[in-house]
Symmetry: C2
Subunit: 514 residues, 2 copies
């Protein structure tokens, strides 16, 4: 077998069973090997940002890495922004990036570039395989690196001749470290803080916002008087009826400062200390007050659930009863569309076990609280702040969970960066309903222009925030890629169109005119 | 004035009068400064690859850098592939990349990344400005770096506080070096080779394929018996009626080897020694025969035209008559669509002074020879091999030359990487006719799969090369972004639709069904 086949077989043996791909000439042997190897589903994306964003969504839902297949430095470059987002979500991912044959790189052919240099700022692990005989072992090392808790971006560069030359066979996965247990000192310190009975926040992230973690955290809070908040953004919150609800640190700096101002202690549990998303003139970067101490119970890569269970024991909360949300969908609103009513409608209409991808940005600020009494569902957010993740993330989540409905809550400005994701959803017949919020602007930037102190913007500045002239027709764009849809200009139309989307087994767009 | 305004004023004073932009929060002061400064046209792109590709097209037509405005590391990353192409085209470009405020970077907020690290593989010059008082001087240095022959990619990183803090005023452009003259030794060596009367190729690139360079090269060839070829890809060839025609080194390796096999000498004139675009098993990387010597008359950054004029003098060719193409458009073909007939139709219908952007890939192989007798026009190609350049490049060329018609010859697979460029064309009312070749596949990869030795591909492999299921409806996609169009299923329909596009003052799509 050649190097490409040894790599594909190694990936499959290592539990990597999906490849999101946008290949070119230098990856043709890898593509050809897919025919000869069972067990690897191959999903084509027509832009690399779709490929890497889909791998993120797949990883968030399965806990396992997908592979990606990218074409030399520029193909990698096109996927880097969603690799950034995936890295911040701590999603495991194995990128295979083709390169020129080793002997061809010296000739500086047009596509030559410093691929390792481009990969490094957005990867935790980078290697160029030197020969066909090393490809399998390097691939196994990449999988192990990706799976190292809490999940890493591993990028393996595959020169074309290492794919087509003869290899030695497949390689076994090296041992993957488990999540490191939290030490007794961290537990003891958390117990000490909680016993002070000073205003204390348990700030949750990572696995602490899955349902088991939330339940443990809620017990500790109930037994100690501490309060709970989740990070502003989270890769995947398990919520809805039967689950413990948690609010999040607000995104706007002033609201975040207000939400955190009473606390004297923050205990981080799979979370990072809260800082502003951006700096603003005359506003602080650190969101906790100066007299608030930051403590760490468990870092995101540590065994967060074990730490929570241990801490619950120590504070006598192992059996404390906690309140979970009732199934109490609000009534479906009617009349003119407002953001508040849209949130309420989502709370009413969200199907059971939906996977909600939230890239609604300014349109979606009310949706999270208004959906807490919906049937149980997952809520996924953009962790790296590079917009254009939603459609790819929903694509990958749908590939991972064919028995669940994916709901992409999608702002229009963000959607434009990766609209090609719709085509992959259509090709694969993925069960995705896209709710596209068409407000014809980068609405967040209107606020931000004022927030950074740039007052009274003129026409030239406002034109940079405006998606009108021409207005984008999202139903045309969806139809052009094989995704049917319907426009909603009233709440009644929204409910009907959303219902049609939910009833459809494949992708469907609901364009909401705001 | 603040740092942002000092930078915008410095750019304008340095001759940079267009900014292709996709800004975010950290760039809001730059955006606000645009209102206060005259002389900078600001053009919004809805994906960063449109922004950088447009800057390339602008630079190729004006010889001057445009600025781009990009949002932190991921925004830069999304623009890198077309920066790669621009760098290979030696287009001058000034990228302004916003970053977090200097004091905010330590907090590792979600969008934090190693921006310099990401920029470096695709930039010739990279700097992070440390304070508002240095921004103007750093901006001036970036412009000078960009304009250093033959053109460079300069990336200036602008932390948000260096934009909003008080600056000292604008900065003057440092001296920009001119093109270095070629020394007498290079001339003498070329003369010596040409006098040997052995089979000699003058291989042309850069300024040597503009009309003045081609005329000088043709005189030298006529006087010495040498032959002329242009590089496989060229940033901008001036051609058509009244100009000297030149063929190009073919892209397929076997054809290139055949075209070059008789030569014993290649004299490089603004060109690089010909190498294969990709390596293939059992095919050489170097396209010239082993007994062929490579000589350099002028490197691409040197004064190529002066070297040609000098050499023409030395070989007594200063007044040699050369043949230029007649205006002899072929008849417009009818009936079923074939690629050959499409090339002929373009030769017949190309408007005078058109700017042709050729990203037709496999569909376009016949178009170049069949348009040599069209009215005078420019022909632009992808220099870096990262597909997805065509629509952005045409956008920038149209901004640069509002009095000329831009014709984008665009393959469907390539178009999907940067289809957002159509929206910018619609917003700016750019005079672009897009001829979209819809063959429903990455057709080139079908050949490449065989070329690399991967025979008898199965369904999984072929699916990765196939853009069907669902078929993409390009008229829907164009309409969704405000670009009207028409479909052509016969040569008669093509001629009618192309005529409508040429007659239209704004963007128009002709979708050619293959």
């Amino acid at each position: 077998m050649n190097g490409a086949e040894s790599l594909v077989r190694t990936l499959v043996a290592g539990g990597v069973d999906v490849c999101f791909a946008n290949p070119g000439t230098s990856e043709m042997h890898f593509v050809a090997a897919l025919d000869r190897v069972d067990g690897m589903r191959c999903v084509l994306g027509l832009a690399e940002t779709v490929v890497t964003g889909a791998a993120d969504g797949y990883a968030r839902m399965t806990g396992r890495p997908a592979s990606t297949l990218l074409h030399l430095g520029p193909g990698l470059a096109n996927g880097l922004s969603n690799m950034h987002n995936a890295g911040r979500a701590r999603s495991p991912m194995v990128n295979i990036v083709g390169d020129h044959a080793t002997y061809h790189r010296n000739y500086d052919a047009p596509l030559t570039s410093d691929i390792e240099g481009a990969a490094r700022p957005f990867s935790h692990w980078v290697k160029t395989s030197p020969s066909a005989r090393t490809v399998a072992a390097d691939g196994a090392a990449a999988v192990a690196a990706a799976m190292t808790p809490p999940g890493q971006i591993a990028t393996l560069i595959l020169p074309a001749d290492t794919a087509w030359n003869e290899a030695d066979g497949i390689a076994k996965l090296p041992p993957v470290p488990g999540r490191a247990p939290v030490g007794s000192a961290a537990i003891a310190e958390a117990v000490r803080i909680l016993r002070l009975k000073e205003p204390t926040l348990l700030l949750l992230g990572g696995l602490a916002v899955r349902s088991a973690g939330l339940e443990l955290a809620a017990r500790i809070a109930a037994a100690t008087g501490a309060q709970l908040l989740a990070q502003t953004s989270n890769p995947r919150i398990e919520r809805g009826a039967g689950r413990v609800s948690v609010e999040r640190v607000p995104f706007p700096v002033d609201q975040a400062l207000a939400a955190l101002k009473e606390f004297r202690h923050v205990i981080l549990i799979g979370a990072k200390a809260p800082v502003a998303f951006f700096a603003y003139p005359n506003k602080p970067s650190v969101l906790t007050p100066e007299n608030c101490a930051i403590h760490t119970l468990a870092r995101v890569e540590e065994d967060v659930l074990h730490a929570l269970a241990w801490l619950a024991d120590e504070v006598g909360a192992a059996k404390t009863a906690v309140a979970t949300e009732a199934l109490a969908p609000p009534p479906v609103p009617t009349g003119e569309i407002t953001l508040q009513k849209l949130g309420q409608a989502l709370g009413a209409l969200l199907p059971e076990h939906a996977i909600v991808v939230d890239e609604a940005v300014t349109s979606g600020r009310s949706f999270f609280p208004l959906t807490r009494n919906a049937p149980p569902h997952d809520w996924m957010q953009n962790m790296g702040g590079s917009i254009g993740l939603g459609l790819p993330l929903g694509t990958g989540a749908a590939v991972a969970c064919p028995d669940r409905k994916v709901i992409c809550l999608q702002a229009d400005g963000s959607a434009m960066y990766s609209l090609q994701g719709m085509w992959t959803q259509a090709r694969e017949g993925l069960d995705v309903t896209i709710v596209l919020f068409n407000n014809k602007s980068y609405a967040i930037l209107r606020n931000e222009l004022a927030n950074v102190g740039a007052r009274n913007p003129g026409r030239k500045a406002l034109d940079m925030l405006d998606l009108g002239r021409p207005d984008i027709d999202w139903l045309d764009l969806a139809r052009g890629m094989g995704v049917p849809g319907q426009r909603a200009t009233s709440m009644e139309e929204f409910a009907a169109a959303f219902g049609r989307g939910v009833a459809s087994p494949g992708p469907y767009m609901v364009e909401v005119m705001l």
